[in-house]
Every structure is written in structure tokens, then in C-alpha cells.
Symmetry: C2
Subunit: 203 residues, 2 copies
């Protein structure tokens, strides 16, 4: 299994370079568990979903604590057949999920969101979950939408994506659970997501 | 068939509101062919791939002609089973593609990129193509990667995505062809893409 993300942080300020560089400090605690490589368009992070989503959450929350409008785009992927197996991506939750039905996985996902830490940072996020390479992929997507609607972070459905709002802790836990619990445990699953904080637009 | 995109423009400047609003002027010629609705996170555009990708290209190229660093995130989708049929999304190229093999589709895609208009704006773009709800989805993805490598806009493969560079005309035509020609004509296909221009990072 290979699990990771391409992450881009977009501070809407002329000081964006400083904001990005100081935001990257939030990744320091995760550098031992994740492979992290930055180029001019995005930062690759490879590793298990536990440190991976914690790192993405902390990066965005650290930047969103500043006053400027900031957004982030993340492409998450697990199980892509074109990527090599990587032992650092081993995820017990995925292994255990092999034998669980959709309802059991929804219940575990809801428990995890209820137990999420509170960061004190309110964010908006929208995402699309893609379950690849199998028939009946929409069953898993509708199951995930059911979970999200009960998670406490659901705001609304939009064309092509689902909109969340709430504390960064609960919102990114909702995202992690959507990524982990839906679609086959050994399958190819991706998420396309954008987050936003401190927007001057009317909410 | 329902075809559209969620589009977000991110100018990395404290003047971002003005830059976004003036960028949206580039959409004026397309408002008769596309349904366009903006909220606080993204702009929904619904319609056939011809005006849809032209509008996205012109929006980004107009903003990238300014000196500031700007990025854009787009979620493209066609054929999502959860969306209603919309006659305004009718696409002759998709209808004709029904009976064509992978090699014939690659050839048509290369022709289209060679005929793309030149905008004079150099951009970077990375994208992931997702073919949903069918076995053997990786064949279509590898076919698309073959096409992209011959398109003249290919820069490099990255984990989870493919990186393009070149004139906005050729780059967005490559994206449109990837979206249209790969994956079943009546299937559910999505693209997750980010574009960048005027980055101060070393290329």
C-alpha cells in the first residue's frame, strides 16, 4: 500500500512566501513519520493516514490562526496500482476494515469524529471522494455521504463535492474517516479537497 | 450527461479580491453557453467541454497576465451518476468517441493539442485523471499518460499526478483532451488539477 498527498497552501497576501514558510514549521513533529518533499507547486507527504492527516490539519490550522485569508488544496491517494508498496504507509484501521460492512464502518467513522481534538480554528472545506477501479463505486460514495451528514461537520452538498464547516479538528477527522473507511481496504481511493479560512466573502 | 467544474482562483496578493473580480470578466463571453454560479469557495461552471475548458483557460490566462503569483484549482467532472442529465452539456466528441479504440483517441487528442491557440502566457499545471466505476481503469489512465507524454506540454510525472508546462493554450487543450478522450464516453470521469503562474520559486 502507498498512501500520501500532494499539498499546496495558498495565503492570499503579498507576504505569501513568509506565511508558507512559517506554516511549514507545523510539519516539524511529523518529519520522522512522513516523507516530505516540497517543489514549486506542492508538497508531497507520504505515510500512514494517522500522521498524514494530522500534519495536513496542523499545517492549515497554524496558517489559519493568522488574520489573512488562506486556502489549501490537497490531493489524497491510497492504493494507487502505479505506486510501489511502502511499509511506512501501513494502517491498522485499513487492515481491520477488510471484514466490516458499510454500517460498521460508518459507526467507527462517527466515533472518530466525535473524539477529534478541538483546535479552536474554524474552517470551511469541500471535497470529492473517488473510489476507483470497481463496479458499484457509488454505493461506497453514498455510504460516505451518509456518514458525513451525521458527522456534525456537514454544511451542504454541492455539484461534484460536499461542503464541510467546523473546527479544523473535527473537519479533518471527517476527511480522514472518509478517506479510510469507504472504498475497499485494498482498493484505490482518492480525495480532491480544498480548505478555506478567513475569507472576506459572506458566509 | 452532466459536465462541469468547480473552479477557484487564488491570487497570492493582498489585492486578491480585485484580482479575482477582474479575472471573472474573462468569463463574460461564456455566460451564454455555461451556467456559472459563484459562492465563497468556488465557481460552478456547467456546460459542454468546448466552452467549459475555454472559459477556465481564459480565466487563468487573464489573471496570469498580471505580475502577481496566481494559482487555480479545478475539479472537473463528467457523467457522475448522481447528477441529472443536462442537454447543455452535449458533446459531439464524446458521442463519436463511443466506437473508437485507445490508439485512435490518442491520435485525435494529439491533433487537438497541435491546433490549440497560443495565448502567450506560460503556465505550470498538474493534474490527476480518475476513471470511476469500471474495472481496468488503469488502462485508460496509462493511455492518457502516453498521450500526455507526446503532447509537447509534458514536464514530469509526480506521485499522484502529472505535471505539464507550456503556453496556456496548449496546456488547457491537453487537459481537455485528457478529460474527453479517456475513460468510457458515457462513464464517470473526473480531473483534479492545479495551475500556477508567476511563482517566485525556482523552476
Amino acid at each position: 500500500m502507498f498512501i500520501g498527498a500532494q499539498v499546496s497552501l495558498y495565503p492570499m497576501t503579498s507576504d505569501f512566501v513568509d506565511v508558507i514558510l512559517s506554516g511549514l514549521d507545523a510539519l516539524t513533529p511529523y518529519r520522522q513519520d512522513l516523507r516530505i518533499e516540497t517543489d514549486d507547486m506542492s508538497t508531497l507527504m507520504v505515510g500512514a493516514p494517522e500522521p498524514l492527516l494530522d500534519a495536513i490539519r496542523d499545517l492549515f490550522a497554524a496558517t489559519a490562526r493568522r488574520p489573512e485569508h488562506v486556502t489549501m488544496h490537497v490531493t489524497l491517494s491510497r492504493g494507487c496500482p502505479g505506486e510501489p508498496d511502502d511499509p511506512s504507509c501501513h494502517c491498522e484501521a485499513l487492515v481491520r476494515a477488510q471484514d466490516l460492512g458499510l454500517d460498521a464502518r460508518k459507526a467507527l467513522a462517527l466515533e472518530a469524529v466525535a473524539a477529534a481534538p478541538v483546535t479552536g480554528v474554524e474552517i470551511d472545506l469541500q471535497f470529492s471522494l473517488y473510489v476507483l477501479g470497481q463496479d458499484g463505486h457509488m454505493d461506497e460514495i453514498y455510504g460516505c455521504i451518509d456518514f458525513v451528514k451525521g458527522s456534525g461537520t456537514y454544511l451542504m452538498s454541492k455539484n461534484f463535492c460536499t461542503r464541510l464547516r467546523g473546527d479544523a479538528g473535527a473537519v479533518f477527522e471527517t476527511l480522514r474517516q472518509a478517506f479510510l473507511r469507504f472504498g475497499p481496504a485494498e482498493g484505490h481511493v482518492t480525495i480532491d479537497m480544498t480548505a478555506s479560512a478567513n475569507s472576506p466573502s459572506k458566509r
